[in-house]
Symmetry: C2
Subunit: 441 residues, 2 copies
């Protein structure tokens, strides 16, 4: 009887048929034979809920029920797994919670939902004994969720450095390789379909912060509310800074960084200068990468396409396969979605950004008068910031010229005060620019 049960097909209800949903349908169709080999049974797409059921689709949905009301899939006892690919908070949240309440397993790629309502969703899944897969929610085709939950489970992770937003990485790559300014590179990315008409979620770092919040939970076994992540985007990165970075041996990347010293946690998203020779510096265009620093394991890195139909669909399908595989085991409760129960997550202190100690790249535009560098240096010195090197170029009396300073390790709150003071000098035009440096990559 049990044996027969495990040979029945697993029945899937798909919510949303956008880019990723279409990819999942294609993969289920294309790989049905190898899936059956692997599982010993098939995966059957039973029904799809879409806003416009009558619309013509790019994929064959011959024997698939198409409905307009997603709640009908949740109410259908023949459906085993709900795959939520609607995105956003509502109605996705109610539907995911509803599916769990209806005894379904759930697969989702919804980082916004899990980053903002993770506690509610993860705990609901644990209480119900539901499987909840979310590999597609971070870094598209890079299986970083599974790696952190399983492969690195026996180690203490010390740091994560992630390029987790393909839009920003494409823009910064264009600025680095082709000398484009931010607004030009953004327009190109929009034309290429790599950036939304309203690019704020991406270029302001919000998307990356949502992903970082999930990575911190998995990597450090600690809570990490989105609001505790210091988040800066890439709008203020200028071509001038990209060029100076090159001169200093660096590349500017939007990094999602988290560190755990065992007592408190640091979590931040911002443009970062990293050594040109580092592997992360070579991760270009729409690729994503996560570098994990483990206590025992040392550094490991995971690279792949960050978004797009098929990479993310492959991740979603890997979750469906894992759910289907473990559904054969009826008696036991599945492992909790985060690898450990939510209540076991540490409530670690998230350090405020003012307490960060880092090296900084500083850039000022000054009217080139004798003594300006001296005044800047003495303000920095008064705030305990010591200078590692200075670049001063294009000396033409009477025009604004850049002064670039690389600092030694400094405390961010001291730096902010010093820059405010320097910005008020009459010889300094515009707001001083600073970029944090991560040299140990």
């Amino acid at each position: 009887m049990e044996l027969k049960k495990t040979r029945e097909d697993v029945s899937i209800g798909l919510l949303g048929l956008g880019t990723v949903g279409t990819g999942v349908v294609k993969l289920l169709e294309r790989n049905h034979a190898s899936i059956r080999k692997r599982l010993g049974r098939g995966l059957r797409l039973a029904a799809v809920a879409v806003r416009h059921p009558a619309r013509k689709r790019d994929v064959a949905l011959d024997r698939v029920r198409i409905v307009g009301d997603p709640w009908r899939l949740l109410a259908d006892p023949a459906i085993d797994v709900i795959v939520e690919l609607i995105g956003g908070i509502e109605p996705a949240k109610s539907l995911v919670l509803g599916a769990i309440a209806a005894g379904k397993d759930v697969v989702t790629a919804n980082k916004a939902l899990l980053a903002t309502h993770g506690q509610e969703v993860f705990q609901a899944a644990e209480r119900a004994g539901a499987r909840l897969g979310f590999e597609g929610s971070v870094a598209g085709g890079v299986p970083i969720i599974r790696v952190l939950r399983q492969a690195l489970a026996g180690d203490r992770n010390r740091a994560i450095y992630g390029i987790v937003n393909g839009t920003c990485n494409s823009i910064l790559t264009a600025m680095t390789d082709r000398g484009a300014e931010f607004h030009e590179a953004l327009a190109e990315a929009q034309a290429a379909g790599l950036a939304e008409a309203d690019p704020s979620l991406d270029v302001d770092g919000i998307d990356a912060a949502q992903k970082l919040s999930l990575l911190v939970m998995l990597a450090f076994g600690a809570r990490c509310p989105l609001s505790s992540i210091h988040t800066e985007g890439i709008r203020r990165v200028g071509q001038l800074d990209v060029a100076f970075a090159r001169e200093l041996g660096y590349v500017i990347k939007l990094l999602a960084i988290a560190k755990d010293d065992g007592r408190s946690i640091e979590a931040r998203v911002h443009p970062t200068m990293i050594p040109r020779a580092s592997l992360l510096a070579d991760v270009r265009g729409a690729f994503n990468a996560v570098h994990v620093q483990g206590d025992a394991l040392g550094p490991t890195m995971y690279v792949g396409e960050g978004a797009g139909m098929m990479p993310t669909a492959t991740s979603v399908l890997s979750d469906i396969l894992e759910v289907a595989e473990s559904r054969g085991r009826r008696d036991a409760r599945p492992a909790p979605p985060l690898g450990m129960p939510w209540r076991e997550l540490r409530r670690a202190r998230i350090r405020p950004i003012g307490g960060l100690e880092a090296e900084y790249y500083l850039r000022f535009l000054v009217r080139d008068r004798p003594g300006v560098l001296g005044r800047i240096a003495s303000i920095l010195g008064r705030h305990q910031i010591s200078i590692a090197s200075v670049i001063q170029k294009d000396r033409k009396r009477g025009t604004s010229v850049p002064i670039v300073i690389r600092t030694h390790d400094a405390l961010e709150r001291n730096l902010v005060r010093a820059l405010a003071e320097i910005g008020r000098l009459a010889v300094v035009s515009g707001k001083p620019v600073f970029v944090r440096i991560e040299d140990r990559l």
Copy 2:
């Protein structure tokens, strides 16, 4: 009753206390609290079998039974999981099979055993319903086994390119970065503990071929006997070739390469020229990396330390954790070790190396007489090999000078014939050198 059972500690018997075994003991000790959080129960090291039980050890083994006879651990009904870290074929093979027969789950890092006796071991585990973890057997700390078995299970993998031998990669890195000759770089690696006194297994590519055989089974779901893998080591790579590679925009790496076109499979280990701009080219020293080309997923890459105590121990521990997690589920048979049953593996044809079509780097030492290049070129032409570019340097009449030729795509069996003919020319000294080029990385 079942609930109580799942809360009991999982009891481990460790065979072998060399480098990796010592690392596993340290990790179990260091991370016991977080392991308990994750599993809801503990992992207890019950007994260790070592050749010299009385010898003093680097790790605390206070409450651990130490025995000289490994079979006593297999006979002990209180031991749940046998961790085999003896290495080599015998007695490891008999012990692993014995442990499976005794109803234990098994974790091993023994690539030689699995690559040469995989069918017997994997099928024994399947028949007994035993869990068999072998993450530590390939690429030390890189979780490539788990990634291929689970994360990429929903995709068709088209190609794998692996830097899977840290010794060779260290030697080639030294030759590339510091201009060392092979024998100097090898001596340095031996002095640093990165190479064995008898380095044949590593530098002749055998270790890499063993790993590739496992990767092919997992990535392509196909059998790949070790004997079908064309295997060349790095002994014949000269500093001259490393320097010419640089000039042509390449780096020489020992790559384990496998490709699957759906009908037949290509599997080979040899020194390879890859573009300097590729991510794999930047994987240096003792690091390992596996680049996987998926049909839907596109390229993904996994990088980490290839060997050493703690990286491999972390992989072994991740297997122990997975085994322990799934031991809670008593009724169901675990997933087969390769992700699908052995009998479902394809018996794909492994293409012989003579049928390879590739671009080649060729290097001849010739006495620089007018017309030599013409004679070489016409022999190549007669064997359907067309020339992409030529480098001829250090023209000094009367001395031997290198001629370097880069070919367009050519058939290897034609090339071998052409080189034999060219080697017989009186004006050519020594054996012509060739290195395969992989340009699509």
